[in-house]
């Protein structure tokens, strides 16, 4: 069997089956669960890199599931955009799996650990499935797999996480329903569910009210799933009360995959002109995301809880990506796709640091961060790097995606959006430097005398990897754009 040929199905099937096997491992030997879990995710990373390199050298991959020819059978289609997302999702998943070893032990009961690993694998399966499939109904199935496992993972956090997860279920289900309704409408008028097939069929139906309704359902459904302000209410609570590893994993991947779905629906399922000329959607999304950036940043200032601050910053970051996607020019789109990667790494790093501080100090309150640099110098250095990237200080990665976003906004003559992006950078600077001041410049007398040292290695290494990745990605931005992102830009931009 040729591995490369089947890589796109293996990357889904392996974690899916592994998540069941993992539960049976409890009866065999409990201590095997974690190494097995890590091994599976490691295999996913290797497969994803294999897929990406195949796509870069040979172009789009197509895989017929069960040998059925599309549009009747399900087809997996991997182009540059999917491959890029798959690598991000599987790498983040693997890195945070390493991190979870020690961090999760403090947060949930030992008996529940194997179930955590299984659900985590299921979430990875769902996210990878969403990105890899070329069928809009199949995408819905994976969306539900991902969402259900995310609800479960969030609910195993601290006490209040159950309510947060419940809110998420309600909102998430509405979002999923809307998406499904969109799929239904499209199916009624075209009789097809295959994305490439639909790309061919839909243009003749652009004037139809049904198509418009379907689009509306898609967009609102996805907006809920990616927590686009003001549909963001589920996110801050969920990511604040969830276990640290889950917050880090979900914040870095779930919303990014949602953005991917938005890109697919907007530019592959429909043509760019449908969004700009026939419907006012792209104009609407620009203003919507500008508002999201503005309010996400503003609300973030007022938070005292570190993870909640990060959640609101994430909401603003989601606005960035939606903005870039909807600007309708090359620069904006490149900015958005580059920001998917940058934001995934930055936010994962920051949430892991938040988890690390919680692991040692037992608090997420910013007031308790005084003088932490004495005890955790390496973690705090990583924090500075991630925060600078969030603000957008060159040469960290965050600068480059912001650069393209601002350039795109100016190119598209949305100066207010450009100004909002700049404004949100300033707000981030305010937020993070306030925290730095607490950490670094507090008089010795008021610093609580913690005796702990740095984090355990299993938590340190992922933090260091992501922090260094921020720098490395920054320096290789041009390389990433010219070898991957350039090919994802929709025709006509």
């Amino acid at each position: 069997m040729n591995l490369t040929e089947h890589a796109s199905i293996l990357i889904i099937v392996i974690p899916l089956i592994a998540s069941f096997i993992n539960i049976f491992l409890i009866f065999l030997k409990r201590t095997l669960c974690y190494p097995f879990f890590l091994l599976v995710l490691g295999i996913c990373v290797i497969l994803s890199i294999d897929i990406l390199s195949t796509v870069i050298s040979f172009g789009t991959l197509r895989y017929k599931l069960g040998g059925w020819t599309p549009p009747w059978g399900i087809e997996y289609v991997v182009d540059h955009l999917n491959a890029y997302l798959i690598v991000i999702v599987s790498s983040i998943s693997f890195i945070i799996a390493i991190y979870s070893k020690d961090s999760i032990k403090k947060e949930i009961a030992k008996a529940k650990l194997p179930y955590f690993y299984s659900t985590y694998l299921l979430l990875t399966t769902g996210l990878l499935g969403i990105t890899i499939t070329g069928d809009i109904f199949n995408l819905y199935v994976f969306l539900e797999i991902a969402s259900l496992s995310a609800y479960a993972l969030i609910a195993i956090g601290e006490k209040r996480s159950v309510l947060a997860s419940f809110n998420y279920i309600i909102m998430g289900t509405i979002g999923a329903c809307f998406y499904l309704l969109g799929v239904g409408y499209i199916y009624i008028i075209t009789g097809s569910l295959n994305i490439s097939d639909l790309t061919r069929l839909l243009p003749s139906l652009y004037e139809s009210k049904v198509t418009l309704t379907a689009l509306a359902f898609f967009v609102v459904g996805i907006a809920i799933k990616i927590a686009l302000f003001p549909l963001h209410r589920w996110l801050p609570d969920s990511y604040t009360f969830a276990p640290s590893a889950v917050s880090a994993f979900a914040s870095a991947t779930v919303t990014k995959v949602g953005i991917y779905v938005l890109i697919r629906i907007s530019f592959t399922l429909f043509e760019p002109r449908f969004l700009t000329e026939i419907t006012p959607l792209s104009n609407m999304l620009i203003w919507w995301s500008t508002i999201a950036i503005f309010f996400g940043s503003i609300i973030a200032i007022g938070q005292r809880d570190f993870k909640r601050t990060l959640s609101y910053i994430l909401i603003a970051e989601i606005g960035y990506m939606v903005l870039g996607v909807s600007l309708g020019n090359k620069e904006g789109f490149i900015g958005a796709v580059l920001h998917i990667l940058n934001d995934a790494v930055m936010i994962a790093c920051l949430f892991m640091i938040a988890g690390g501080i919680f692991y040692r100090v037992g608090s997420r309150n910013l007031e308790d961060f005084t003088g932490l640099n004495k005890n955790m110098p390496i973690t705090m250095s990583a924090f500075i790097l991630a925060a600078l990237s969030m603000i957008g200080i060159p040469p960290t990665a965050g600068f480059f995606s912001k650069w393209y976003l601002i350039l795109g906004a100016i190119e598209a003559k949305y100066l207010i959006s450009a100004a909002t992006v700049v404004f949100s950078s300033l707000v981030n600077a305010l937020i993070f430097f306030r925290i730095f001041e607490k950490i670094y410049f507090t008089k010795k007398e008021v610093i609580p005398q913690y005796t702990f040292r740095e984090l355990p290695l299993s938590m340190m290494i992922p933090i260091i990897i992501t922090a260094l990745a921020i720098l490395i990605i920054g320096f290789y931005s041009g390389e990433i754009i010219s070898s991957i992102i350039k090919f994802t830009v929709p025709a006509g931009f």
Binding site: P394, K443, G478
Partner: protein, 499 residues
């Protein structure tokens, strides 16, 4: 123009980064070794910078392409005459300040000295980085690094006041650079498609005048390090830092980086022709004139010596901006000479302020009566620095003032002459009373300073005194032998005025 490819610019930048690393790992326990790294790096850096000088004087340019981040954002270095002039000044004064720092910090038993020396070294890397940047993007990166690396130096004392000052410092410098400077850079790129510093300006001559004007104003507002009013108040706030920081960074490196960037923007982004055609030079002239006078007036009212010096810096920096804004050969000459002249004069003044603090713990001007008898060397240096600031021969300041006045005549801006005269009078008004009180008045007996009120000579330690003597003597030497300055300036002028 002949181009030499060499990694020297990169080495000059990296050497102090390496030093910062060594300083950090050496730590407080082996402090003599730690200080060795600083001194060693300072000398090597100066050596590398000077070694590039002969080629530059011969009209060559040294380039080094570090890497491309994206096709349009390049991380490139290019050493030209303007860059070498600024970097020699900064690198030379770093050597002197390093000795001074050691004396100052040890005598006062300051805490966190390792952090202090490490960030000091990083700041110098960033300063040289800006001097050698080949495009606006590279310069912007170093500009931000400089802000960030000087932040811990301003907050050094960790008191509420220090934190407040540092907060203001960061808000002004980082805030405006992101809000205005970055926006201006993006617009520049949007108009012209690249960000390279080019001797006749990179902006398209046919760009919409309105957009060009907005971009120009965004640059002026975004390069807050030049402390042009009304965005100057971070500089007085930064005076909470230890005096060596105020001396090198907030009289030379950081603020000069600001004016240096303004010169880059004026001559290498916009170009003389474009600014002349839109009359934007006059706009900048007016803003700078206002700053010169307003800052001097505020300086008059300060009783804290360092604050008075800070406002004097705000005023003097605008001389440099003013000279550039005149857009005439003599104006530019005066502007560039003043970068050096002010650097030597002002660092002398700050060194003496620090010396007074080290020897007597006094910070206020009203407490300085009769101090000239106790600290004759220090107050002699102070007098030289002050006279140079005012612009009296035989000190460096008079040369730049001379060329600035010529430039004003060439540009037919007679009001600038009035401003310069008025400012000279104001400078005299806020410096001479200090000199007078120090030498002529009788010391007041002060309960707060009993232990320092004894008779006889009571100078600061040699490490603190010798540096300000050296810079004071150099202030005289620059006046006597300005040919080094003029030689470099000839190359710069040939470059931007096209022969």
């Amino acid at each position: 123009m002949e181009t030499i490819i060499s990694s020297k610019p990169l080495l000059a930048i990296i050497i102090s980064l390496i030093a910062a690393f060594l300083i950090a790992i050496t730590g407080e326990k082996a402090r003599n070794l730690r200080e060795t790294w600083t001194i060693l790096a300072a000398f090597i850096k100066f050596g590398i910078v000077v070694s590039m000088l002969p080629d530059i004087i011969n009209g060559k340019v040294i380039e080094y392409n570090l890497f491309k981040i994206t096709p349009e954002l390049l991380f490139h270095f290019k050493v030209d005459a303007l860059g070498i002039f600024f970097s020699i000044t900064a690198a030379f004064l770093w050597i002197i300040t390093s000795f001074y720092s050691i004396g100052y910090m040890r005598r006062l038993n300051e805490s966190a000295q390792t952090r202090y020396f490490a960030y000091f070294a990083i700041s110098l890397s960033a300063t040289i980085g800006i001097a050698f940047s080949a495009n606006m993007f590279t310069a912007f990166v170093f500009y931000e690094i400089l802000t960030l690396s000087t932040f811990p130096l301003v907050a050094h004392k960790e008191t509420e006041e220090a934190k407040k000052g540092a907060r203001k410092y960061l808000t002004y410098l980082l805030g405006t650079s992101i809000a205005f400077q970055l926006t201006a850079i993006v617009i520049t790129y949007n108009i012209s498609g690249n960000l390279n510093f080019s001797p006749d300006g990179v902006l398209n001559k046919n760009a919409a005048p309105f957009l060009v004007t907005i971009t120009f104003l965004l640059y002026i507002a975004g390069i807050t390090k030049a402390a042009i009013m009304p965005l100057h108040s971070w500089l007085p706030a930064a005076m909470v830092a230890p005096t060596p920081v105020s001396a090198l960074l907030h009289a030379v490196a950081v603020v000069k980086t600001g004016v240096f960037m303004i010169l880059r923007v004026v001559f290498y982004i916009f170009g003389i022709d474009l600014l002349k055609s839109l009359d934007l030079g006059t706009v900048l002239t007016v803003i700078a004139s206002f700053t010169i006078i307003a800052a001097s007036v505020i300086a008059l009212r300060q009783d804290n010596l360092k604050l008075r010096l800070a406002y004097s810096t705000v005023s003097q920096l605008s001389y440099i901006v003013l000279g550039a804004a005149l857009l005439t050969p003599s104006g530019i000459k005066g502007s560039i000479i003043h970068i050096g002249a002010h650097a030597f004069g002002k660092i002398t003044l700050f060194f003496t302020a620090g010396a007074i603090y080290v020897a007597t713990r006094k910070t206020k001007i009203s407490e300085l009566d009769g101090i000239g008898k106790k600290m004759p060397l220090t107050m002699a240096s102070f007098t030289i620095g002050a006279l140079s600031m005012i612009g009296i021969p035989p000190f460096a300041g008079v040369i730049s003032k001379w060329y600035l006045s010529l430039g004003a005549l060439e540009a037919n801006q007679l009001f600038v002459l009035v401003i310069l005269t008025l400012s000279t009078i104001l400078n005299a008004c806020y410096f001479m009373p200090i000199v007078y009180a120090a030498f002529m008045k009788k010391p007041k007996y002060d309960d707060n300073f009993k232990e320092y009120s004894g008779g006889g000579i009571h100078e600061a330690p040699m490490f603190v005194v010798i540096p300000h003597l050296i810079t004071a003597i150099l202030t005289v030497l620059i006046f006597l032998y300005p040919s080094f300055f003029l030689e470099i300036i000839r190359v710069i002028l040939a470059n931007i005025m096209g022969g």
